[in-house]
């Protein structure tokens, strides 16, 4: 495996960059693995990497029905932050944020994590109190948060409409300076390359069509490339969790909905960090290529189609232009939809299932990308030790029935109210 470095690129000047090898192998599936991970998205690949690197479990396969990183990993708006309100979420996402800070070196793959700041705007005194409360909660849990005045916000993002008579005037904001964005594809590819180097088999175009069970216990999977035996089987297919779990007779507290995102044509730098809002439902950032990347609310009705309805993006754009008027004459270049697992409290599910040897990682709603490292780390721990890591223990599947929901927005069990 050729190590990635600037020197390597310079060497390529003399050989037409011909010395690079495939970032991952294209192996045939073996008959048995210690762990089979269903889903070659960022989370599944990260899980495989940490199983191999942290727990020494290298006889691992990642089965991907299409191409790795082709699901929600490649369809999100690449935000990374830990600015939540509740402790279990703080602990989990902040652990992840710390991993992001060293991920490029860890993987020897530049995932371009760029902590340019995640700014949440407040549009009234009430909003500012809510933001202060969020910031205070973060700081109590040792997460960076800073309340900003109007002037500070205006200086940070000069393109914001700071006029007093705006429909949603900007009164200030809360910034997590360590938040930012990363390059989504690079996360999947970086984990894949690093996992492959440790012996993990990444098997693309291999769709799981059923589970092999002895009694209740899952002992393998049926796939489009044949039966594969598994000591433990890990579902990691957010968006399609319900569909895959149903093959093992499990019904989940999850509803699949479309979340759309869009990108504009590239322009010179105009948005510095990530802009969100306490009252509006859009989030805006600018990619390194110059495109304004943004999203809004989910489509709010069940769908597996990866296609949304235009009114939803139109609504998000109207909100974005209300905040940043200069967006008006940019052009939307592409819009796309991802299928999200909307859980019934807005928080993810990582842990064991009632089916022996079957594990579940899903329910990420619209916030899974930022969780990739922590999700992989804790899921790997859970798979390796059969017990949840303290960080993912609160996110178990049984919490809904018990009443231990982690409901960040207090809206209850209907995903379309979230």
């Amino acid at each position: 495996m050729t190590k990635y470095s600037a020197l390597g690129l310079l060497r390529g000047v003399f050989n037409g960059q011909s010395h690079w090898q495939p970032a991952w192998r294209d192996p045939e599936p073996k008959a048995n693995y210690d762990v089979v991970i269903i889903g070659g998205g960022g989370h599944g690949l990260a899980t495989a990497y940490y199983l191999a690197s942290v727990h020494g479990i290298r006889n691992v396969a990642v089965l991907e029905k299409g191409w790795i990183g082709g699901g929600n990993t490649g369809r999100n708006t690449t935000l990374v932050r830990s600015n939540y309100r509740q402790k279990p979420l703080h602990d989990f996402f902040e652990f992840g944020l710390k991993m992001w800070e060293h991920l490029s070196d860890e993987l020897n793959y530049n995932v371009m994590f760029s902590p340019r700041g995640a700014l949440m705007l407040g549009h009234s005194d009430a909003d500012m109190t809510m933001l202060a409360q969020r910031g205070d909660a973060m700081r109590v849990d040792s997460i960076d948060a800073e309340l900003l005045s109007r002037d500070q916000v205006a200086k940070l993002e000069p393109q914001l409409d700071m006029s007093r008579d705006a429909r949603f005037p900007i009164e200030g904001g809360l910034i997590q300076r360590r938040g930012g964005t990363a390059r989504h594809d690079a996360v999947a590819w970086g984990y894949a390359r690093a996992a492959d180097r440790l012996g993990v088999d990444i098997i693309q175009k291999c769709e799981v069509t059923g589970f092999v069970q002895q009694g209740d216990t899952v002992v393998g999977v049926e796939t489009t490339r044949g039966r594969i035996g598994a000591g433990r089987t890990a579902i990691c297919v957010a968006g399609h969790s319900g569909h895959v779990a149903a093959m093992a007779g499990l019904t989940l507290p999850v509803e699949s909905q479309t979340l759309q995102a869009l990108v504009t044509e590239g322009v010179k730098p105009m948005i510095n960090g990530v802009i969100m809002s306490q009252s509006l439902h859009c989030y805006i950032s600018q990619s390194d290529k110059g495109g304004i990347v943004m999203g809004g609310d989910p489509d709010n009705w069940p769908s597996y189609a990866q296609r949304g309805q235009p009114m939803v993006t139109e609504g998000a754009i109207a909100q974005a232009i209300a905040l940043v008027p200069a967006l008006s004459r940019l052009r939307m270049l592409r819009t796309w939809g991802g299928v999200t697992d909307m859980s019934f409290d807005g928080s993810p599910i990582i842990g064991t299932t009632p089916v022996p040897n079957l594990y579940l990682n899903g329910g990420w709603c619209y916030g899974g990308f930022k969780a990739t490292p922590a999700s992989g780390w804790t899921y790997a721990h859970t798979l390796a030790t059969s017990t949840p890591h303290p960080l993912n223990a609160p996110f178990d599947l049984d919490r809904f029935r018990r009443g231990d929901t982690i409901d960040e927005n207090g809206v209850g069990p209907m995903p379309n109210h979230r």
Partner: protein
């Protein structure tokens, strides 16, 4: 954006409707608590047809049960629910 044929109003834009919940999530007020929680907190969520409860919120406000395909978005069946109404 789907075109939904409301049983009362005929074909209307999806914008006039709101999705409310799946039929398999409906909890009757007199249900046994354990069963009620099972229904409230699990969904079949199939990658295919399912029964959904929608409301013609910005139209005639009627509640509709739709059998809809989750991948193609095609509506296989639709019926209004609610009190008996004149035609």
């Amino acid at each position: 954006m789907m075109l939904i044929t409301c049983s009362h109003c005929g074909p209307r834009a999806q914008t006039e409707f709101t999705y409310e919940r799946t039929v398999d999530s409906v909890v009757q007020p007199d249900a046994d608590p354990a069963q009620a929680m099972e229904q409230l907190f699990t969904r079949a969520n199939p990658r295919g047809l399912d029964d959904e409860l929608w409301r013609h919120t910005f139209g005639c406000r009627a509640w509709l049960v739709m059998t809809r395909h989750r991948v193609t978005h095609q509506i296989e069946a639709i019926r209004a629910v609610g009190p008996e109404a004149l035609p």
